[in-house]
Structures are given as C-alpha cells and as structure tokens.
Amino acid sequence: MILDGFRRLRKSGVLGMNFRNAGYIMAYNARSAYPLVDDKVQTKRLAEKFGIPIPELYYVVENHGSIAKLPGVLEPLGEFVVKPARGSGGSGIILIKGRTEDGFVTQSGKTMSKEDFNYHIASILSGIFSLEGGEDTAIIEALIHPDAVFKDVTYREGVPDVRIIVYKGVPVMAMVRLPTEASDGKANLHRGAIGAGIDLSSGITLAAVHKSRIVKTHPDTGNPVNGIQLPHWDKLLMTASEAMDMTGLGYLGADFVLDRERGPVLLELNARPGLAIQMANQSGLRIRLDETDSAPPAVFSSPASRVAWARDHFTGPDSSTLISSGG
C-alpha cells in the first residue's frame, strides 16, 4: 500500500524532499554560492550589479552600536520595511507604513513604540530569526506598493509575491503567494498564505493551495484566485532566468514583488525552495525537471532562449498530467 502510494507519487512526477536535496540542491548548488542568497544584503548588491530591480536599500544595521544611529536614518522615511538579512519564511519582517510621535504604525495598523522597535532590531542582530541562529544584520529597505492586479485576492494591505523555480536557468514552475488574514499580510505559505499556480506559458493563475488543500477562492475576500493575468510576465521570467547567471545556482527559487510603478522587483533568492509549489500547480516538478534535462543544448545559451523554451513546454497542470501518463 505504501509502495503503491510511492509509485503514484512517482508517476505524477512529484519531487520529494529527499530527491530535491540529493538530486538537485546538492548536485547543482555549490556551497560557495549559498552566502549570496542566504544573506539578503549580498543578494541585493549582486542584483544591483546585474541591473535587476530591487526594493531600495536604505540602511543595514550591522551591530548593536549602530542602533543608536537609526533615528537619524529613519527620520526622512515615511514608510519602510525591516527584515533580518538571513531570515526565512517571513519571520522577523515588519512592514512600517507610517509613524506617530513616539513610534511606528505597522502594515496591520498596530502601533509599535520606538522601544519595541529597537528591541526588535536587537533581536534580529542576536540572530533569533537567522537560518543557523548565528549573528545577523537588519535590513531597512523601501516598502513596496504592490500592483493592483491581485487587489481582490489579497487580504487588506498584504504584499503578494511571485515565486519562480529556476532549474539550469530555465523557469520550470511558478506561483503567486497571496497573503491572508492568517498570514499577517506576509506571503509565506506555512503562515497561511495561499499559493496560486501560474500557467508558465501564459502567466495566468490557476487554482490555489491553502494549507495543503486546493481552493478556488481567496479565504478572506471570497474572490476567485484563478484566471488572473500577471502583468510583466515575460520580464518576470527573464529576470528569474538571469538569477542563475548571477549566482551560479543550478536550482533556485526567485521571489518577486510586482511594484505598482516599477514592475517586478526581486525580493530574494532561495537555494532551497520548498515543494508546496507543486500543489499550487497541481503538477509534479520531477516531470518538468526531467524534461529540462533532455532539452537541446542550444536552449541554455541565453535567458531569452531558456524562457522561450519554457513557455513553449510548461503549460497548465493538464498537459503535465498528460506527459506523466504518457511516460
């Protein structure tokens, strides 16, 4: 019965955690490239060098001493975002959209005293949000105002992000993560955000996954999540594809936010992207990865050719199921 279950997973091309780790992450991601993506400051510097748009970096709090300098730095800023440079899963991120005399107003409308704010920065520095629990730095960056396209399927002021899995520079699967009330406005799935798959060739959303179940509507707004055309789709795919050249990572996840004015901005890169995207897309990654492996070498020559090939080959979930039953 168990083996049967495994066989079915295999047949639908699901990528499991073990195979992701051994077959892709360990095989295609050099250890030396990890710091580039694990530390968001480094990612930002790199992206700037490659001309990839990012949320403007205001300041990096390197140590407890520089907390004292913060008031001066924050003085001219009406709104901004604080996040741990080495954080993950949305932890430690605070979106500040305004201020009062003695504090700040967060995205969800709560006020935060200056003292609480400084404590939060100190917590970030001491590393409690960091991947390995080591020392960390705190990033102060621009607050992104998301494109209105997902307004109807986003909880209040939440900021949706677009996750694209890139294998050997080829975008293989994508989803948009829509914040919910439960996810506190952040677009992280395990916090309760929902993830809607995206048809790679057209950039139109499919049904979504919410806590590992399939949903057609947003749990808070009740609006349908599928059938939404993403703006700047080709640009998103191109930028994601370039992330491979930028970092040398053969298997990565690129996170974008769609800015109202600037279009796609790169939030972060991930050397160990999660597997839930398969549920959002109702199709297995293995199939697409295998297909990429057998693509003609010419495909990999430039980001443009890789994106074109991907848009040709990876359409909605139905076609992949077709492939899986055929092979």
């Binding site: 495994f6 932890s91 003292e115 979930p317």
Partner: protein, 509 residues
C-alpha cells in the same frame, strides 16, 4: 547515482564481517548471546550494631568452586575494614574495625552464574570425620547401626540412611539392639550432626551446608541442608524433612562444612537480608575472564580489557550510532519532525536514569513550564543570550525542585533529573516557543511529540542488553551501522509523510 555510496558501504560491511568472523573462528567467541545456565543478582544487606570496642562480621560469600561462577562483586563496608578469607572451598567476607560506635550498614553485591557441569570435583571427596562432640563409643554405635547396608552400593546405602533417619530401620535380626541404642544416642545431637555421623558410618562423604534458595525473593535466614556424595555428585538433603532436593540447582551454597553463613563478633546483627534476582546475562560477559588473559591481538584490544567503570559507558556509546541511524530513518524515510537532529538521542540517554515514564513526564512538564515562562519573558524584551540564561536558570530550578520532591517521596527517578541535558532542554524550550509563534501550536506539538517518540524508541534500543553486549564484544559492528547510514544517505525516494502532504495532488491519490 547509486554507485558512489554503495562501494564504501560494501567495504565497511565486509570489514565488519571479516573482524567478526576472525573473532568467532580464531578466537572462539560465542555467536549467540544467550547462555545456558542462569544468572542471579545477589544483594546482601547487613545491619550491625556494635556492642564492643572491637566489632565485626563474617559473611559467607558465593565462591567459584561450588559450581557457580561469580562474575562481578561489589562491597560497601561503611566504617569497617574488609578482606576476603578463604577457607577450603568457602570464601568469607570479613569486616572488622575498632571503635565503631554507630550501627553500620554493610552491603555486598554479586552477579552469580550457575555453570551446570563445571566446578564439580572429579575425585570423590574424602570422608569427613565424625562430629567432634561425639564420643568413641557413640561413633562405633553408629558404625554398628550402619553395618547392615555397609556392603551395598552407595545409592542403596544412601537410601537406607535416609530411610533410617526417617525412623524406618527395616527388619533387624532378633536380639540385635544396636540400632535401637544408636537411636537413643541420636537424640542427644541435632538432626544434622546425627545424620552426618550416620553417613560417615555408612562411608558416604557428607557435609553440612548453608546457603540460599535460588528464587526471586528476600531471605532473612540462610537455608541449611546436608550434601551427600553419591555416585559422583552431591545430593542435597533437607534436614527438616529428610527429603532429597529434586535439583541441586535450586540451592546456592554459601558455606559448606559446618560453617555459619553469617556471624557477628562484638556486636549484634540487627537485620540481615539476602535478595536474589534473576538476571539476563549474556554468555559474552562470561568470556570476560578468558579474554582478559588472552594474548591475541584483538583480545588485547578488546573493550573487555577496559577497567569495569569505563566499560558501562562504552556499552551505551556504541549503541548511539544506531540511535542516530534510527533518527535518520525516522526523519528521511518516515518524515518525523523533531526538535534538532540529535536532541532526541540525548534525551534518550537521560531516560536511562529516570526511566521512560518519569523521563517523558519530566520532559513535557519542564517544556510546558518553560513555555509559560518564555511567553512571559517575551514581554520583557530581553536580549537573546540573557533570555536563554533565564530559561536555563528556570530549567535548573525545576530540576532542583523535582529532586527535592523526589527525595521526599523516595522516588529515585525524580532525583536523577539532573542527568537530563539541561542545555538541550533550554534550547528546546526556545525552539518550541518560536515554533508556536511562527507555525502554530499544532506544528510545535507535532515536533515535541516526534522528539519524545524518537527518544523513547532510541531508549528502548540502547537499553536492549543483548544488543549492548553484541556491540561491546564486536565493536566493529558500528562499521556496519556506518554502512547503513551511508546507504540511507543515498536514499532519494519519497518520505512516508509526503504521501499525506501531496494527497491532494492530481493523479497522486
């Protein structure tokens, strides 16, 4: 993809096989850990109240010669000096001291293994003399009474003596009153001495013995019996009923030849208890002696050569890799969530002194108390390191409290709480809190339950004695464990939990 891991794994496995086979074939190690015979754990508690300046105690100890092998002994002597005095085939532990004025507790502990056929002398023992108190005429009377069966075979003689002791002298020629006269004499002496005299008169070697019934019980008086040498083995006779004990294995002799099993001098025995417990003892442990004397390379490099006090550590340490293997399996094949990777293993080690029930209860209790405290601390906005220090302090405080309560209730398990790795517990509390904050209570409880379950499984494994001995005698087995770990590291299949995780994926259910 399979190859690179397979080769080193196969090499490690082969190396294990070679070493184990070498030990079995050339060094004659046992293959199976079960042994014939039985092992017993003997515990003697003696409380002595000194009455004079010079006081002491003589206690018969189990000895090697009587068909029992003493594997390990430990003595706690309080204020007294201790030495072992050997007398014939008896060993006496002698405790003595001057100026001891308080009651003392003396404990003696030993593991005894009965070796069914060994330790029995091949030559028949000499006839022992008549009891010293018996006069010449009385001795010749006994001899005259035994005259009737003197010419018969030993077994027949033995049966005749036993029948006579029961009062059944059979027909005697009319006018022969020798047996009647002996019976009058017999009244003067105690049953054992009378019987010994009659056996002596019948040329059957016999001796009085004191010892214990081999049963799982507490005995406060030694058992007395008579051993008679009949047809190349000792037959045990109950002096109260004159019945023969069906099997000599039911008795553990402590002192033979009329010596008392315990005697206090210059003081009073306030209490004495012999406690016997059955023990599963591996045959390998019995090889200890043989291996320590061997000159073979692998014998000289055997862990059995380590001083006793370090051996225990290695018995456990060698099983830790298996525990790690189990954790890898549970995480990579099953998909069990746990706090930290080896944290459950460390908790499992602590369970050895607290037991699982108390261990799990203490773990959960301290985790919950820690969580409550951590939630409160969150409002105080403490920095990471001082905050962890506060939790650490709390954990230690909980331990102290538990130990004190344990002491009041007489629960050793609670007092052993200090052996739970407190740093690990502190980190677990912090992780538990963060996990609840970030991923919700359900996720955090899953990880807590996963950790405890893995710890209990790992504990069950490391307390399995047979496995302990197997790895202790054949430490090379850990190479095979490493091989399995390598193979597992190459496992790229699905995790059991992924069946559930991807259950809503099209075509996969």
């Amino acid at each position: 993809m399979r190859r690179p891991g397979f080769l080193p794994a196969a090499a490690l496995f082969l190396l294990t096989c070679v070493l184990v086979l070498y030990r079995i074939i050339w060094l004659g190690y046992p293959v199976f850990p079960v042994s014939e015979g039985q092992s017993w754990q003997l515990l003697v508690n003696v409380y002595i109240t000194p009455k004079e300046e010079q006081s002491g105690l003589s206690l018969a100890l189990p000895s090697e010669q009587t068909g029992y092998m003493v594997v390990e002994e430990r003595v706690l002597s309080g204020m007294y000096a201790f030495y072992i005095h050997t007398q014939g085939s008896n060993r006496f532990g002698v405790w003595s001291g001057a100026g001891v004025d308080r009651p003392e507790e003396i404990t003696y502990r030993a593991t005894i293994h009965s070796r069914p056929r060994r330790g029995v002398p091949i030559q028949s023992p000499l006839l022992s003399p008549f009891p010293t108190a018996m006069s010449r005429e009385e001795q010749s009377l006994a001899q005259a009474a035994a005259m009737k069966w003197q010419a018969s075979a030993p077994m027949v003689r033995f049966r005749a003596v036993v029948a006579a002791l029961k009062g059944n002298w059979g027909d005697s020629p009319p006018g022969d009153d020798r047996s009647r006269r002996w019976r009058v004499v017999q009244q003067k002496y105690d049953r054992t001495d009378a019987a010994l005299a009659l056996f002596r008169a019948s040329s059957l070697p016999a001796r009085a013995a004191e010892g214990l019934r081999l049963a799982e019980e507490v005995q406060t008086l030694p058992t007395k019996w008579i051993e008679v040498w009949v047809d190349r083995s000792w037959v045990h006779l109950n002096p109260e009923t004159w019945e023969v004990y069906p099997s000599s294995a039911a008795l553990l002799p402590l002192a033979v030849g009329g010596f008392p099993a315990v005697r206090a001098t210059g003081g009073e025995l306030s209490d004495i208890r012999w406690t016997l417990n059955r023990q599963v003892l591996s045959q390998w442990k019995l090889f200890y002696e043989q291996i320590t004397r061997s000159a073979h390379f692998l014998d000289r490099w055997s862990l059995l050569q380590l001083p006793q006090e370090f051996q225990g550590t290695f018995r456990i340490l060698l099983l830790v890799p298996i525990g790690a293997l189990i954790i890898s399996i549970l995480r990579n094949v099953v998909g069990f969530p746990t706090f930290g990777i080896f944290m459950p293993m460390l908790i499992a080690l602590a369970f050895r002194s607290t037991g699982t029930v108390y261990g799990v209860a203490i773990f959960c209790g301290v985790l919950l108390v820690g969580y409550a405290a951590r939630s409160f601390l969150d409002k105080l906005h403490l920095l990471l390191v001082p905050r962890l220090s506060v939790i650490l302090t709390l954990v230690i405080a909980c331990f102290t409290l538990l130990a004190l309560v344990g002491n009041k209730l007489g629960l050793r398990e609670l007092m052993a709480v200090g052996l739970i790795p407190f740093v690990i517990l502190t980190m677990t509390i912090e992780r538990f809190f963060i996990l609840i904050e970030e991923s919700g209570i359900w996720e955090a409880f899953r990880a807590a339950i996963g950790s405890v379950a893995v710890a209990v499984i790992a504990y069950g494994l490391i307390s399995w004695e047979t496995l302990q001995f197997a790895f202790f005698v054949y430490p090379e087995l850990i190479l095979t464990v490493a091989a399995l770990q390598i193979l597992l590291g190459r496992y790229t299949g699905y995790r059991l939990s992924e069946l559930y995780r991807f259950r809503f994926l099209k075509g996969s259910s």
